[in-house]
């Protein structure tokens, strides 16, 4: 066994399904999502609006609003610790007895393996999340150093003044003078607010950082500053990171591996060079072709035709079939098979069915 295999992965999501059950319809946000981040690695999760990127991040922290959100299957473990696990046969039997055939609308298909107290302990300390919009994720009536120190005093038993001092250290770490800690969020620019949010997320050096589009609201130059800073902090603390983004440029810049997500499931996964230079899935190819070419202005863009599929429909075939130029009959009827080009690089597509894994889904 190599060193890498001995340490449990920083995050391991297996077959995760999340639904949002409304009165009239159910939205299938995630349908069998698989993700794995090895210790110290950064995984990019790429996809369009509504693909389920944020839901994936929120489920790890147990923040999927319920109701209406229900985790219907799968498991999540963080650094070897199970957070969510599927029900065993006996437990499923109990649920069936309790609710009968009329299954309750918000009855989950999995069990939580940690109590809410433990979960709160984990958030911020072991796993933390940077949210997309820095403008709304800070409290406008509390000074920024106070907000950062809250995280510290909540999870450790240092004194208030010590927590404030460490909040100041964090501010300096992200390139904001300590003296500005006494100011309120509205006195900061967008880029600085985002840096405050990052300082807060990193205050207790968590093992896993989930960054949900951390730079989308920022200008390119500020984005470059923030990304560079995140890279530096990540390398210093050996933090594992889940980078949720729609920008393939950011992925190329900061990630080690990429998972491309479409309609709630991963359609392609691999290292950067696998996905960028040996693209397999037609959706990933489409994403690349949609981007303006910086080498040649005259190249016409090749958009992916059509729109994201309706998330309230459960697909039997490939959800991308209707937008795919290479789709055939079988794509609409049968769920696509998994194909591993190499140990690391896999895709889920009928195009490669001749070469697909015979034993069904291999663990990714």
């Amino acid at each position: 066994m190599t060193e890498k295999e001995k340490t449990p992965p920083a995050l391991w999501i297996r077959d995760l399904s999340v639904e949002f059950r409304g009165r009239n319809s159910t939205v299938y946000a995630l349908s069998g999502l698989n993700l794995k981040i090895n210790k110290g690695e950064t995984l990019g999760l790429v996809g369009e609006t509504g693909a389920g990127k944020t839901t994936a991040g929120l489920s790890v922290l147990g923040l999927v609003a319920s109701p209406p959100g229900v985790i219907t299957g799968g498991s999540i473990s963080v650094a070897g610790k199970e957070i969510i696990a599927p029900l065993t046969g006996d437990e499923a039997e109990l649920v069936r007895k309790r609710w009968g055939e009329k299954k309750h609308r918000f009855d989950p298909g999995v069990k939580r393996c940690v109590s809410e107290e433990e979960m709160m302990e984990m958030r911020g300390r072991h796993v933390s999340m940077i949210f997309q919009d820095p403008m709304t994720s800070l409290n406008p009536v509390i000074t920024v150093e106070k907000q950062i120190s809250e995280v510290i005093s909540k999870h450790t038993d240092v004194s208030g003044s010590e927590a404030l001092r460490r909040a100041g250290d964090m501010l300096e770490l992200v390139g904001i003078p300590r003296s500005r800690g006494k100011e309120y969020p509205h006195q900061f620019s967008g880029g600085m607010k985002q840096r405050v949010v990052i300082a807060m997320a990193l205050a207790l050096s968590p093992e896993l950082l989930i960054a949900d589009e951390p730079t989308t609201a920022l200008d390119v130059t500020i984005q470059a500053q923030v990304l560079d800073m995140m890279k530096k902090l990540r390398d210093e603390n050996r933090t594992s990171m889940l980078m949720i983004t729609h920008d393939l440029g950011i992925v190329a810049d900061i990630c080690d591996r990429v998972s491309v997500i479409y309609a709630g499931r991963v359609v392609e996964h691999g290292t950067l060079s696998d996905v960028f230079d040996h693209t397999l899935h037609p959706y990933t190819k489409g994403l690349f072709a949609s981007l303006p070419d910086l080498e040649n202005r005259e190249t016409r863009l090749k958009p992916i035709r059509g729109l994201m599929p309706d998330p309230s429909i459960r697909y039997t075939g490939c959800p991308f079939a209707d937008r795919c130029d290479e789709a055939s009959e079988v794509c609409r009827k049968e769920a696509p098979p998994v194909y591993h080009r190499t140990e690391d690089h896999m895709t889920v597509c009928h195009l490669y069915r001749d070469k697909a894994d015979k034993k069904g889904m291999r663990e990714t």
Partner: protein, 319 residues
């Protein structure tokens, strides 16, 4: 040089605030030839949207003139400006808030037609709406749907159809694709380019996305704190950026490829305040090449090579 459709001459727009005047657009001059696209890029707060609105006189310029087809429109009264607007339209950034939620797709597109009494007869109007929906690629079955039922890409198509309804010659596109996903963004960009060829439209394309602006514009104008710092044809600007700010901007583009990666120039500091800026180079505080002169004297645009204008003391000295 062929005729210019739109020309702005020393355009200024100051907003009064408690602390002084905000120089949103400060002495900007440019011209756009018929059928071409001028891209305007810059960071948020650099005045690019205000410039677009001032050109259409949605904001009254503090001083300066705008010429459309050789006519000075800055002195036009309400009535004549109203007529003029038929030829100058705008596509807005946010397709989620720029449409009336209570109007169906056809009503939204019909609105300008009624206002300008272009097709007085109801049947002809319905035909024109169908025609416009075809042009922008909206299916006829969507005629009676409301904006909230549609996704961002389709909503933006309604915005484009509304702008096209009056057969304009000139359209200001204010960040028309920045709220959209890449695959949809590509669809809208292709649509805008096709329309331009078909209808011989002239665009002023405002965006913060450099790869988009490079793709769509014939000429690019880089703005910093209300001023134009560099202006050149797209290929030239990307191949040979001269102003330190442009260089930093270009180096900051995240390139979706593992090869030919750029080395990034990180700018220190944040944008200085646009309220009554002193007479110095506004970029000097963030610039790695700033010298004494930059803090004493405001640089002006000069032609560094044919068609390539830049406003920088260091570049001027180097030549």
């Amino acid at each position: 040089m062929s005729e210019s459709l739109l020309r702005a001459d020393h355009l200024k727009k100051y907003f009064r605030s408690g602390k002084g005047n905000v120089h949103a657009v400060d002495d900007v001059s440019f011209s756009i030839e018929k059928g071409k696209t001028l891209g305007v890029v810059g960071e948020s707060g650099c005045g690019k949207s205000t410039l677009g609105r001032t050109v259409l006189r949605l904001e009254e310029p503090t001083s300066g003139n705008v010429y459309f087809n050789g006519e000075d429109i800055s002195g036009f009264g309400r009535r004549r400006m109203w007529e003029m607007r038929q030829k100058m339209q705008m596509i807005f950034q946010d397709p989620f808030s720029s449409l009336n939620p209570r109007m169906t797709v056809s009503e939204a597109i019909e609105d300008p037609l009624i206002l300008y009494r272009l097709c007085p007869d109801r049947e002809k109007r319905a035909k024109r709406i169908a025609e416009l929906m075809d042009t922008v690629g909206l299916a006829q079955r969507l005629t009676n749907t409301y904006p909230h039922e549609l996704d961002g890409g389709r909503r933006q198509r309604i915005g484009i159809a509304r702008a096209l309804a009056l057969n304009p010659e000139f359209i200001v596109c204010d960040e028309p694709v920045s709220a959209l996903d890449v695959s949809i963004q590509a669809q809208i960009l292709n649509l805008l380019q096709d329309l331009q060829k078909e209808l011989n439209l002239t665009y002023m394309f405002i965006t913060h996305d450099l790869s988009v602006v490079y793709h769509i514009s014939d000429e690019i104008m880089v703005m910093y704190l209300g001023q134009v710092v560099e202006k050149a044809p797209s290929e030239i600007l990307f191949a040979n950026p001269l102003h330190p700010y442009t260089k930093a901007l270009l180096s900051a583009i995240p390139v979706p490829s593992l090869h030919n990666r750029r080395t990034r120039m990180i700018m220190k500091g944040e944008i200085t305040s646009p309220i009554d800026p002193p007479a110095e180079c506004r970029f000097a505080k963030r610039c790695g090449q700033a010298c004494d002169r930059c803090f004493r004297e405001e640089p002006h645009l000069f032609e560094a090579e044919p068609g390539h204008f830049v406003s920088c003391h260091a570049v001027e000295k180097g030549l």
